[in-house]
């Protein structure tokens, strides 16, 4: 029975393998007149930088841009759209609510709801009881961040930084996941959001360094324990190094989240550009689903990476490295 099934599946695959290219050819033959017009369009657009692009291609780019970028319109095709209110300038800054701000608030609401439930369960639970359901699921993540991210990277005194690390992890995770829901937008795919989060990490790192070493120790850290004649090179490098860390965090998260969405949308638009159902079924949808699943993984991965690197930077800033050098120096004097 099983062998029969396998045989059938194999035969089916063979038929598909023969039919699909044929169908593609037939499709392109049928749609030949239109394709001739459509195919040069991307080329033209590529050459001219989208200035005089064909209407189809222009529309695809617009839709992708619209999806990725921030704006003050929530589009619920085909049901309509919600225009977010404009707030007048405050101190010369436009603080009107945009799509990504709304997403941030939705994420915050989701976080608060989920964790008030979980926190409530823990409050009512004795130490001997095992958590169940949602509390158990969240505990696995919390425990992971606590032990494998915070404790192993920061070491002594990691408890102080746990609330920040946990919040940043779940905040980014929920942002990433909500961005994968239809009609949603990825707030972490906006460079401003990731920049703000990395600035928080930057401040946390710097404050932790000051607390751990004091002002003198902090300044000594900037010299990287080298000879004074090298300070003119080392100090600027170390100072730049302090800023490259949050910059790397910013770009990594933003680029990862944006890239995944652009790839999914581009795959979908291949079928629109080529005007082929066959391409849609054989290429766009399977590949888009594959990338979507990959994005689900990336959502967790990038939240983890951001938290991990934050913990690593805090650990590096607070570590008493070069302690031996200081002692050796003291002995030398």
């Amino acid at each position: 029975m099983k062998r029969l099934n396998v045989k059938r599946v194999k035969a089916f695959l063979k038929v598909i393998a023969i039919l699909v290219p044929l169908a593609l050819n037939v499709d392109s033959l049928v749609a030949a007149p239109h394709d001739v017009a459509a195919v040069p369009a991307p080329a033209v657009e590529a050459v001219q930088g989208g200035v005089q692009a064909a209407p189809e291609e222009e529309k695809a780019g617009d839709v992708i841009m619209h999806h990725i970028l921030d704006n003050n319109v929530f589009v619920f095709d085909p049901f309509g759209e919600i225009h977010l209110p404009k707030i007048p300038l405050v101190a010369g800054i436009d603080i009107s609510i945009t799509k990504h701000v709304v997403m941030l608030w939705l994420v915050s609401a989701a976080l608060v709801i989920v964790f008030s439930v979980v926190g409530g369960k823990y409050k009512n639970m004795s130490a001997r009881q095992a958590p169940r359901g949602l509390a158990n699921a969240m505990e696995a993540l919390v425990e992971f961040i606590r032990l494998d991210v915070a404790k192993s990277n920061i070491g002594h005194g990691y408890e102080k930084h746990l609330p920040y690390l946990l919040t940043v992890f779940f905040f980014i995770l929920f942002c990433n996941l909500l961005g994968l829901i239809p009609y949603g937008a990825t707030a972490t795919g906006n460079v401003n959001v990731t920049l703000t989060l990395s600035i928080f990490t930057f401040f946390v790192t710097q404050i932790a360094a000051f607390r751990a070493h004091g002002v003198k120790g902090y300044l000594q850290h900037l010299t990287a324990g080298t000879h004074w004649s090298l300070w003119i090179i080392m100090v600027p490098i170390e100072i730049i190094g302090q800023f490259t860390k949050p910059f790397a965090l910013t770009v990594r998260l933003f680029a990862n989240m944006t890239a995944g969405h652009i790839i999914i949308l581009s795959l979908i638009f291949i079928s629109f550009i080529l005007k082929s159902y066959i391409v849609a079924i054989a290429v766009s949808v399977p590949f888009a689903i594959f990338i979507y699943l990959l994005e689900l993984f990336v959502a967790f991965l990038q939240a983890f990476v951001f938290t991990m690197l934050s913990a690593l930077f805090i650990g590096l800033a607070t570590a008493h490295e070069g302690h031996d050098e200081h002692q050796a120096e003291a002995a030398h004097h």
């Binding site: 991307p42 657009e45 590529a46 930088g49 989208g50 695809a60 780019g61 992708i64 841009m65 990725i68 970028l69 921030d70 800054i93 436009d94 603080i95 009107s96 609510i97 945009t98 701000v101 941030l104 608030w105 915050s108 976080l111 608060v112 964790f115 008030s116 926190g119 409530g120 823990y122 409050k123 639970m125 130490a127 001997r128 969240m138 505990e139 919390v142 425990e143 606590r146 408890e159 746990l162 609330p163 946990l166 919040t167 940043v168 779940f170 905040f171 707030a187 906006n190 460079v191 401003n192 959001v193 920049l195 703000t196 989060l197 600035i199 928080f200 944006t258 890239a259 652009i262 581009s266």
Partner: protein, 175 residues
């Protein structure tokens, strides 16, 4: 893919938006504070408590194991000691019994000898007393018999002679 390149080149992806930065900062800080209050405190507290509980149970189990092993060792020692003690007691008891038996036998033999000796003495005494009694009896009988004979056949002198000789006889015999 071409479109994505164009989007990136267009630069709008990297354009700064102070309003969004402001809202992100405000939102994040508020979420951080709320979650710290409602979630991280209880959850981390519970986790730490559980961790401590697990550690203490492990410690307790180890301690209990060590204790039970110590008790087992002590028990074995005690058992060995008790065995040795019982062996010693049995041996001592046997020796004592042996000695006691020997003592008793000796004592009984001595006693028996003593008893035999005293019995012999007593028999001797009794015999002597019986002889005395017998002698008196015989004398009386003799006197009475003589009386009867003499009353019928002899006179007083004759009688006296006979009695004297008889007494003489008896006393010599006796001695």
């Amino acid at each position: 893919m071409l479109t994505s390149g164009i989007i990136l080149l267009a630069g709008s992806l990297l354009s700064p938006n102070p309003g969004l930065i402001f809202w992100t900062a405000v939102t994040f800080v508020i979420v951080l504070l709320i979650l710290k209050k409602i979630a991280w405190g209880p959850i981390l507290g519970a986790l730490e408590e559980r961790e401590k509980g697990i550690q203490s149970s492990i410690d307790r189990a180890h301690k209990a194991k060590d204790e039970s092993e110590a008790i087992l060792r002590k028990n074995k020692e005690l058992l060995a000691k008790a065995d040795a003690e019982s062996d010693r007691i049995i041996r001592e008891g046997r020796d004592y019994a042996e000695k006691l038996r020997a003592d008793f036998t000796d004592k009984a033999q001595a006693e028996a000898k003593k008893m035999i000796a005293s019995a012999k003495d007593e028999i001797e005494q009794e015999k002597r007393r019986a002889l005395d009694v017998l002698r008196n009896e015989v004398a009386d009988l003799a006197v009475k018999g003589a009386e009867k004979i003499i009353k019928t056949a002899l006179d007083a002198d004759m009688q006296k002679k006979i009695v004297d000789s008889m007494i003489q006889d008896l006393s010599t015999k006796r001695n």
